[in-house]
Point group: C2
Chain length 233, copies 2
């Protein structure tokens, strides 16, 4: 299984996906076509056009997954799922049979790319999304391409903040009260590259924070190989 | 229907519920017993003890709703649902029949109080919670005591923030792309008091922000009566 899971698609002060452009081009070497999954935003055609402009710059043509049958999607050479609202994305994928079609494509060798909500759905469930549950999907289950949860846009507590909502870490600790699956908090500007069972944390040095039930959170700077910590029982 | 819906239970620099103590005492005048719904936190007995300590200070005894039958809960004189994780709360209420028991109690005249997650569930659905979906409830439907959605802990954008996650307003706009129900964003330190179809915004002056599909958001300082804006078609 090959996947490139970005915390976020646009870094502050930069353009769409530009912070990862060279690495995306290298990851997609030899691929000249991908299907873009736009369902996390309301304007699926407009969103597909944004993705197409970026990927044209690295020699890859883009087709919107909403424009093709599930049969064709399941034979995709590569799939990129964009960010937005995870609940809207997951509802659309389950209700149209595209969740299974993407799983089939990846099982058959398609490279999977995701950003934000698109990275959330690479995990077993949507349960570590940051998004508002604006619609009710038929199930919280997602692609399950990796055996752990990911929290994209991972955010450290802001010193001196007087807002009383839970910090991101407190939310993930609540998740671990109810679930045993570890959670990788990917800070903005980073991504996890997955290559046949090996996991590489890349992008900005600030890296990621790994949460496990019953253990202190662990810090990792990028670049780092996380295979052993992400696959131990 | 009588309800007292707090944005949050603890204000920065204050103790549990103390910012609303006088108003809660006035709202509960003549009531000496309430049932506390603790399911938004994992430690239901510890949480009930926290609530009991506060309400003892205004002469009200507290029983944990997890310690009584749904039949007894449905005859409660007053019910207070505490904050925590909305998904955990809603799952527990649906799976144990307590969602219907609380609805029955309120229909029969019980005063309803909520803070944060407890305020979320007074709306028709949990869809405007800020919480992480750590567990999957059988349904997003909630008590429906009021005909609009509430976003507790409503937070204005922070000037100069470089984090690329959606602002609270952007999340609510996404909700309105998918739903027509208005959303009242209650800033911390405020509450909405509901008295037989009339709605009063009270607490800290910073008040609330009301979002409707197709309209500019509207600002309201506390105190203000919001009956006409919250009930127009």
């Amino acid at each position: 299984m090959r996947a490139f899971l970005l915390s976020n698609s646009t870094c502050s002060g930069n353009t769409y996906l530009n912070h990862a452009k060279d690495d995306l081009a290298r990851f997609l070497d030899g691929i000249d076509e991908l299907f873009f999954v736009p369902f996390a935003l309301a304007d699926v055609d407009g969103y597909t056009a944004v993705a197409a402009r970026f990927f044209a710059g690295i020699g890859i043509s883009v087709t919107g997954a909403h424009r093709v049958s599930t049969g064709l999607l399941s034979q995709a050479p590569a799939i990129f799922t964009g960010g937005g609202n995870t609940f809207r994305l997951v509802k659309a994928l389950h209700e149209t049979g595209r969740m299974e079609a993407i799983q089939q494509a990846v099982a058959d060798g398609a490279s999977y790319l995701g950003a934000s909500a698109g990275t959330n759905i690479a995990a077993p469930t949507l349960s570590t999304t940051n998004d508002m549950p604006i619609v009710e999907p038929p199930s919280f289950s997602t692609l399950g391409l990796v055996p752990f949860q990911i929290n994209p846009h991972y955010l450290d507590p802001v010193p001196g903040d007087t807002h009383m909502g839970e910090t991101r870490e407190e939310r993930i600790v609540q998740y671990l009260e109810e679930n045993e699956t570890p959670v990788l908090g990917l800070r903005e500007g980073t991504w996890l590259r997955c290559e046949d069972g090996r996991y590489f944390l890349e992008g900005m040095e600030r890296g990621a924070r790994l949460f496990r039930r019953g253990a202190e959170p662990a810090e990792f700077s990028a670049p780092a190989e996380l295979t052993s910590v992400l696959t131990r029982g």
